[in-house]
Homo-oligomer: 428 residues x 4
Amino acid sequence: MLMRYKAVRKFTRRLCRPLALEDYVVQSMADVSPTKWHLAHTSWFYERFILQEFVPGYEPVNEAYYFLFNSYYNGAGPQHCRPSRGLISRPTVEQVYDYRRSINRRMGELLLNADDATLDQIAPRLTLGLHHEQQHQELLLTDIKHVFSSSPLLPAYHAFDDEPAGNGPGDVDEPGWVGFDAGVYEVGVPADDESFHFDNETPRHKRYVAAFELADRPVTNGDYLAFIEDGGYRRAELWLSLGWSTLQADDWQMPLYWFRDGAQGGAWMQFTLAGAKPLVLDEPVCHVSYFEADAYARWAGARLPDEAEWELACRDQPMQGNFADSAAGVGRIHPLPLSVAIDGEVGRVRRCFGDVWEWTRSSYSAYPGYRPWPGTLGEYNGKFMCNQYVLRGGSCGSSQSHVRATYRNFFAPEARWQFTGLRLARDA
Amino acid sequence: MLMRYKAVRKFTRRLCRPLALEDYVVQSMADVSPTKWHLAHTSWFYERFILQEFVPGYEPVNEAYYFLFNSYYNGAGPQHCRPSRGLISRPTVEQVYDYRRSINRRMGELLLNADDATLDQIAPRLTLGLHHEQQHQELLLTDIKHVFSSSPLLPAYHAFDDEPAGNGPGDVDEPGWVGFDAGVYEVGVPADDESFHFDNETPRHKRYVAAFELADRPVTNGDYLAFIEDGGYRRAELWLSLGWSTLQADDWQMPLYWFRDGAQGGAWMQFTLAGAKPLVLDEPVCHVSYFEADAYARWAGARLPDEAEWELACRDQPMQGNFADSAAGVGRIHPLPLSVAIDGEVGRVRRCFGDVWEWTRSSYSAYPGYRPWPGTLGEYNGKFMCNQYVLRGGSCGSSQSHVRATYRNFFAPEARWQFTGLRLARDA
Amino acid sequence: MLMRYKAVRKFTRRLCRPLALEDYVVQSMADVSPTKWHLAHTSWFYERFILQEFVPGYEPVNEAYYFLFNSYYNGAGPQHCRPSRGLISRPTVEQVYDYRRSINRRMGELLLNADDATLDQIAPRLTLGLHHEQQHQELLLTDIKHVFSSSPLLPAYHAFDDEPAGNGPGDVDEPGWVGFDAGVYEVGVPADDESFHFDNETPRHKRYVAAFELADRPVTNGDYLAFIEDGGYRRAELWLSLGWSTLQADDWQMPLYWFRDGAQGGAWMQFTLAGAKPLVLDEPVCHVSYFEADAYARWAGARLPDEAEWELACRDQPMQGNFADSAAGVGRIHPLPLSVAIDGEVGRVRRCFGDVWEWTRSSYSAYPGYRPWPGTLGEYNGKFMCNQYVLRGGSCGSSQSHVRATYRNFFAPEARWQFTGLRLARDA
Amino acid sequence: MLMRYKAVRKFTRRLCRPLALEDYVVQSMADVSPTKWHLAHTSWFYERFILQEFVPGYEPVNEAYYFLFNSYYNGAGPQHCRPSRGLISRPTVEQVYDYRRSINRRMGELLLNADDATLDQIAPRLTLGLHHEQQHQELLLTDIKHVFSSSPLLPAYHAFDDEPAGNGPGDVDEPGWVGFDAGVYEVGVPADDESFHFDNETPRHKRYVAAFELADRPVTNGDYLAFIEDGGYRRAELWLSLGWSTLQADDWQMPLYWFRDGAQGGAWMQFTLAGAKPLVLDEPVCHVSYFEADAYARWAGARLPDEAEWELACRDQPMQGNFADSAAGVGRIHPLPLSVAIDGEVGRVRRCFGDVWEWTRSSYSAYPGYRPWPGTLGEYNGKFMCNQYVLRGGSCGSSQSHVRATYRNFFAPEARWQFTGLRLARDA
């Protein structure tokens, strides 16, 4: 248990290695948190939910941190105003690392000295804490990408070892369609499954699913470019009403991080964690909102899958893909072109894990019979079940060990700064 | 067909009868439209979707009205900015009535002179236009109620003929629970049903529904008061995250239109279309948002039904209830106390039709296989399927002839100015 | 005294004669008040500051009106939120006229029955109330103009009897310059002047004024058009920093109410109280902000006068000009072309009274030794001496009997909906 | 000239010495700039206005810096959005110091190699650049104070060497009044004065000044506390209208940085650059807005001086006081208690230089005959002459060599984060 703890904690530090100290401080929009906040908050989680509960007479490392680094747990007390996380310079990065070290030391002591009965109580919370930290590892990456995109210098987080060339249109075949029969299916995590999962993935329950087909690959940049060139961002009839008003208010003309080099008619580029790069056509399209995903699907004569369809179609696929921990090996945190093979890639539904989170058309809501975890940790998932949409499959920013077929990620329909793409579905 | 047209149009005029001319002009918030806008827009609907399509060489009554009175149909051209509907004094109310009369005359001519083939084409659009007008009749009432609530004079729209007395707590028994078995059910409107329905009620489709129980009556003011007195508006753990931030931002402490007479501790009052009235405890609670309905249900150890559950439970109930057209007879557009009997009221699930729209926990989304109507009228429902929640059953502001068990009303989760209440459900 | 009261009150009613009832209700922006609010507030002023003070045991006409129709007198109690004046339909226009009639009756009784000593006390307040009402008469006109401009129908308040033709560029000669010597001058109202004036015009005090020249006529539409055509709205160097950011935020490209007929390159038009009209080049330019006046002056190689310069130059001019009460005779409330002669027009500084308020470069501030009126009426002028600029000379919307050479009008530098223009000055 | 350049540049670095790297990055409100921005912008000023003009074929250090570090000079090209200065992490602090070093090297080369004629041209711009940098030294201090105040840790910039004790009320005598005769005076900088001054201090011109009295010391914390305790922040009649609405909107109850220790009734504290400290009663009050200064003066039965009065009264005082460069010696950048003597402190008007900028009631406007500097540098002062008020005398954050009696500082009336206080005046 301690080894796993150390490994996850170490990976967080490893993700920070390319950063300059200044990069840790900035909050480029309300949804983004500064890196140093992520570092502190993930430590706070262990302190608040494990050390304080299991160490008798526990004294917090710093009383002020309880306020500063609580994200949204009302049950754990008041919180610093979220959009103001970037307005404070202190504690410094070094002080935050000190905080991490203090927590690590105390956690080490607790885990080494606790009796078995206590360890049994700690274990689920520790596992949760590690998955929580893995979620923030991904947020750290998407957030720093947004921070970097805010500077005209367009700095790079890391270099891509392996630089795929841009492809001309037509390099990727039309997607194939994989069919599924109608029927009553069970989805969600079975009650006897002891591997880690969030409360929102339970209980396993029956759904009637009509016959449907799912595309055998995600939508690519090349596909999406055809939508843009067909006037996709100028045709109100393709969009949800809220999407159209968002597009107009924020002047959307392409996915986040896309731009054209030079004036009218320049080459299509995208900002990546390796800086500005030419757009690669057979990469899964990324950084699109639910609104854009939905409009693209309508334009393509298809629709987004619902989350049950996605789960049914993908749960037998091998957990292979382009993940942050695998990616770290190949040196890029970015969707991989479809033309690049991934070891162990088999099955009918390519690339459903890793690369990009795939928007579903399912509003994020409680499964029938859902019960949030008891106590303050019940705030983890349940209270966000409103005005958000479910995404599935993990991304190039997720750790492989963090993703499951039943995993329900969720974001507001206008969110674009995550590694979010889509896969088409249609009625059979 | 013409008779039905005349009847609906006349009922709109009848609803306006208590209004002073000034009341027609005001828009008290962005969601509210001025009465004169409703009068004009409902006429525009016939002009734009029937007269312009079926009268060769049709000349609009006033070119500017095409812009001013188009609500949100991008396919029908640009629109006046919605929140600015109350910023214009012209056209005057008289000019808007002239417009209505012009449209009535032209519609009369068209319907009298058209051949049968054309009439067959017109019929579905006309029926739609009438249901559209009925929707706006209800909005007209909820909007004028909001306008009136904005004046410290708290003016009355009409007097209640029949004034029920306030009841002490405990006058209403705890709700009973009606059970339903698990199974695969069909919901939505069958393909062969020729009676009017919106596109969003189709297609009829199968759903697996787990066993559940539904309360046999709506939540009352007395029930809801107990929630308030138990600190319901101060306990974050009862609320969705978005609900809690809305409550804090807008300083919610009770349903819209409730207030206390005098300083701390005065009698509970509510603003109604008959002016300020003492709170009647056995009336269905009204003017609560989805957030409040959800928090109440959590506090009560229950939940909101989903829309399929509601439809299954209520579709066999008789279409009886307290509606705007029946209400007009009894002289009140306001929920009726449960202690007052309604003619023909039978069945296990009391008061599911009329009184208050009942929030379900279902996000408003497309039924499997849903296809919007073709053309511009496809904008009627489909493009709003995002960040809204479904309500069922009609209200004291709806016309009885407008409501069906399959009817899907929808509003944003923070909306409170509609006649919205709730009924509890729970897992069996 | 009563006759004067009746005359002013009657003129208010006369100004309302062209209005439809709906026009009384609308507030088209926060700075604008609905006509019915003006009608009620001017009556409230007599009620609150005369009737309540001088009638023993006075009972207000309607307690709620004390709140609704108090503008900004904190000493007189709390106030209805200013930007919400247009959100209420009640009291109706008829009820407001009833209120006016009640006040008139009570004022009549008071004035007829009071003894001489009381009348002496009432007199200055009554005179103030009448000048207050005259101020609101002008606001009523500028506000209804703004309301009308908000409707695409561009309705007319009245027809111009006498329609001057548009003139070609060059029809007006360059302005002549009238010189004034340096010296110590006295400005403001002398202590022994018993005619009406506001507190802010006192005390008379000495100013050292350097030698200067003042243009012998106001800037015209033709002059201003040359500024526009020379890129005036695109050249940052001509503008104050706040002006430039306002221009960009609100996309200013020309004075308020100017527009071009049809697409790029159409004829220059302006919206007037007689509806849309071709731009007349030798009219004094109107509806420009301080920012625009200042930028124009800089472009023209001149500057705005300061208020002492203006007063020195104009105080010996005859009080002749194009005013609302004279205008009513000639049938237009609009600046008059310079080519049209005004009876009695003499002197070196043409058209300094009437037509348009002339922006000075003087920030609105207290004269040395200034003391606000005692009590609540001290809030009338003094508390606004911040971030506003002084205008002089009255306009086509002012009554002739209301204007003096020492009169200090003031508005925020971004305000454009008043009848505001300018006259150039330069150092000698 | 080079020595002076080096001294000013070195003092900037010295001011940064107490900062952690993270402190350089944060922008805690739109008016505040990050320290690293100040460091870069002051360098940009030399690059843009000296190196680029006087070095043939000059290549900028980094093209992007021209955009990022231009503050508001439209004549020098477009600018990065001011409120976004804290949203970028790159260039890093080290890169900004590299930039400074590059500019220093290039400036050194230019100054060493230029011929005398060129040096004569450079000299005034260099002097301007140094005074510009001194202005930003003060802003750097006020901005970092605001940044530090945003963290609940309330970090200290430096320790005060010399810690004065809090004084009880009454320790400071009532101010004495120094009288001045009426007359025509000359103010501003004479044409033949070759020492440095800004364009806005010219031309010297005549003013008629009525007899007045000026307090012989600034208002203290003790004085101001009496105002608070007398309900100063709850009495609308003491405030300008804009001030009152600002007070209500931002919930002002005391000067910026004041707070009470613990709940209701705790000790009065203030946040300083040495962290949280007990309020010292005989210190000049600091961090009050124009609105607060004006309200205090009204409460005290006095008024603010106008800027001519201030200049007349103080121009013969010795340039002694508590400045940032002297303060650095005594170890505190904070107003000094009146009970502490300052070397060389003589004269009738104590402490008019240093400690706190003193609000005058003069709106910031052009002196008669004012001409902005030619070219882009004309944007330095002139374009801000709107909706700001003049402050005089320098502060504990200013360098002594930067301050003059004729110096006109200016800020918006709601600004509180500068070292701003007041001194009373009254009519004789």
